[in-house]
């Protein structure tokens, strides 16, 4: 009797070591994200774009430092110095129509523009992914209701609706981002729904259901992890678009309200004086352009790295 227990214990422990050995053996195989990062690193253009994007983000994040270096705050105006050209009297990038330092405002404006783009993308993603997942997983009437809503929203002139909301409510970066999410969640919802629909009928989901997993487990363990890559790609490709959207909204006077600087409202203010000083128009616009360009190159890199099949090559 004692012997048998011992033998059994021995057997169990040997099985444990076997299991541990297998686990150890499995470790060196690169995970999904590790290999994606390895592919991304090989993309030289994307790496350069990533470095530039990081530099732009740092420039915005350390705006107070920029203010310290230029010696101007973003709102102090010296009307006598208005429209100072580039690189004169200590104004590295010149002064705007109110005599404010452009470089300092560019850094602070970057904070707002980048914050808006990030918030907008994330809230759109959360709303769209949740609705899309519900729609795809549960199907039936829930799917019908959500998809018909998508059809309606897709037929709306989105920009008009955003201006409508912006002109009737006092918007901040946060509320504006949420409003953007409310009118633009449709794309990601369709994407996630499609992915969930294909996943739902896959064998491993069927197998999970057979061994008695409930909805929460199936969604959390089996479906969501497989939706993440496509969503990451969507996220990285949508941020540049939101930076551009901020410019459009601020140009129309319903985006970020002055005196808070944003790249969009700097452009809008510069329009009044563009015949005297074209650099005032050029600089914030170029910053938007550069940021959107770098971020979309990074986005392309992410797409190629995460799912090589999605590449349009």
């Amino acid at each position: 009797m004692v012997q048998t227990t011992e033998a059994l214990n021995q057997q169990v422990s040997s099985q444990r070591t076997l299991g541990a050995a297998l686990e150890r053996k499995a470790k060196p195989v690169a995970g999904f994200w590790t290999s994606a990062w390895r592919r991304f690193r090989r993309d030289r253009l994307a790496m350069v774009a990533l470095a530039l994007s990081v530099a732009i983000v740092l420039f915005a994040v350390f705006a107070p430092l920029v203010s310290l270096l230029t010696g101007f705050t973003y709102q102090e105006n010296h009307l006598a110095q208005k429209l100072t050209p580039v690189n004169t009297d200590g104004y590295v990038l010149g002064a705007d129509g109110n005599g404010r330092d452009v470089l300092t405002r560019l850094a602070y404006g970057g904070r707002i523009s980048l914050l808006f783009a990030t918030l907008g993308a994330v809230s759109t993603l959360i709303l769209g992914a949740i609705l899309g997942a519900i729609s795809g997983y549960f199907g039936r009437w829930i799917d019908t209701v959500i998809m018909r809503t998508v059809d309606v929203i897709l037929s709306l002139p989105t920009l008009v609706v955003l201006i409508l909301i912006g002109s009737f409510y006092d918007t901040t970066v946060w509320t504006l981002a949420i409003f953007v999410a409310l009118v633009s969640w449709t794309g990601v919802a369709r994407l996630v729904r499609g992915q969930v629909l294909t996943l739902r009928s896959r064998d491993f989901v069927e197998a999970a259901r057979v061994i008695g997993a409930n909805d929460r487990q199936i969604i959390g363990r089996h479906i969501l992890p497989n939706v993440v890559p496509i969503v990451v790609v969507w996220l990285s490709l949508s941020v540049p678009g939101l930076i551009l959207l901020e410019t459009s909204l601020s140009y129309l006077g319903v985006g970020i309200r002055v005196p808070t600087p944003s790249w969009g409202n700097m452009l809008q203010e510069a329009q009044a004086t563009f015949r005297q000083s074209w650099t005032l128009v050029f600089i914030p616009g170029f910053m938007v352009f550069l940021t959107a360009l770098c971020l979309s190159l990074v986005g392309n890199g992410v797409r190629d790295a995460v799912d090589p099949r999605l590449t349009n090559e």
């Binding site: 018909r148 809503t149 059809d151 309606v152 929203i153 897709l154 037929s155 709306l156 002139p157 989105t158 920009l159 008009v160 609706v161 201006i163 409508l164 909301i165 002109s167 009737f168 409510y169 540049p240 551009l244 410019t247 459009s248 140009y251 129309l252 006077g253 319903v254 452009l267 329009q271 563009f274 015949r275 074209w278 128009v281 050029f282 616009g285 938007v288 352009f289 550069l290 959107a292 360009l293 979309s296 190159l297 392309n300 349009n312 090559e313």
Partner: protein, 323 residues
């Protein structure tokens, strides 16, 4: 075919209904349109009440919605709350300009994008392909309003300074001077707005055609066509291109809202009297009836555009009708 079109057209009715309801809710959730007069000492409460009565604002919003919807179905979009002009008249007056701008933008973009896409696909990774790849990424990242302003600065301000022939930057037509109102005058007014509006779609569509061409070129039927000894041109234009253009029809349909959004900005920069100007003016004067009418009109145009795209696809691709 007729049956397909009918079925597809009927599907737009609930969508239109949803669009109007949603817009109505957004507008009415934002409060009282007569709020500005509330604290105006020169407007007595009685007058305010009379105006409310007159405009039907003393009813709850859902009643007003159905009254409005009933009128719309009879072709009456109401009167402007600012200048009392019938909304439909104001819209119909400017709509042709917006349609002209957007429609020419789509046509011109297609005319330019398709050859670029084909060429890039045929000479894949060649110097031209790479150049257009850089161009399209750059064009996509450009704020349309910045692009418009730069065009104005270069082709109007700077060209005038340098004594070169410069382009007009505002309006749809010259007010005075020689040739005002002629076709040529109208066209020169369209050049800059159209350039700003077409660049992003040329960029996007040419890349799309390139990738869909490349995909088709790898299909079995292309190999079969080559194997039976068809000429290269026949294989490329008769077999690959025909199939590659099909998804483009849907894409163009789906891009229509973006074109309208772009035209709204461009109309603003170039003081072009279209629907975009009408709606932005109405938004800032809180002219509710005009906003509702224009939003509805935009939605109708978008839905119509998608309908046309779907029908065109069904005409071009018989598989759709039976699918």
């Amino acid at each position: 075919m007729g049956q397909y079109i009918l079925r597809r057209a009927l599907m737009t009715i609930p969508i239109l209904f949803g669009v109007t309801l949603l817009t109505y809710i957004i507008i009415n959730a934002s409060g009282d349109p007569l709020q500005a007069f509330e604290f105006n000492p020169r407007t007595s409460p009685e007058t305010l009440e009379a105006i409310r009565e007159n405009l039907g604002l003393n009813q709850p919003w859902y009643i007003r919605y159905f009254v409005w919807l009933g009128n719309v179905l009879q072709g009456d979009l109401g009167n402007s709350m600012i200048n009392y002009r019938p909304v439909l008249d104001s819209i119909l007056q400017v709509m042709p300009y917006t349609i002209l701008l957007s429609f020419s933008a789509i046509i011109i973009s297609l005319i330019i994008a398709i050859p670029i896409g084909i060429y890039s696909a045929l000479r894949r990774n060649g110097i031209v392909d790479r150049a257009f790849s850089v161009f399209s990424t750059a064009a996509y990242a450009m704020p349309i309003f910045w692009l418009s302003l730069l065009l104005v600065i270069l082709f109007s301000s700077k060209f005038r300074e340098w004594g070169l022939p410069y382009l007009p930057t505002s309006g749809v037509v010259s007010n005075r001077g020689e040739g005002a109102g002629s076709l040529e005058d109208r066209i020169t007014h369209l050049i800059l707005p159209l350039t700003a509006l077409t660049l992003p779609s040329i960029a996007a569509w040419s890349r799309y055609i390139r990738s869909s061409m490349l995909e088709e070129m790898n299909q079995d039927f292309v190999r079969t066509a080559r194997a039976k000894g068809l000429r290269n041109n026949v294989v490329i234009y008769g077999h690959a291109l025909r199939n590659a253009l099909l998804p483009l029809i849907t894409l163009v349909g789906l891009t229509i809202p973006d074109i309208f959004a772009g035209s709204l900005i461009v109309e603003q920069v170039f003081a072009y009297q279209g629907m975009g100007r009408l709606v932005t003016d109405a938004l800032f004067s809180k002219d509710y009836t005009v906003i509702m009418g224009t939003t509805l009109m935009y939605a109708v145009l978008i839905i119509l555009g998608n309908l046309i795209a779907d029908v065109a696809l069904a005409v071009a691709d018989p598989r759709i009708r039976y699918g």
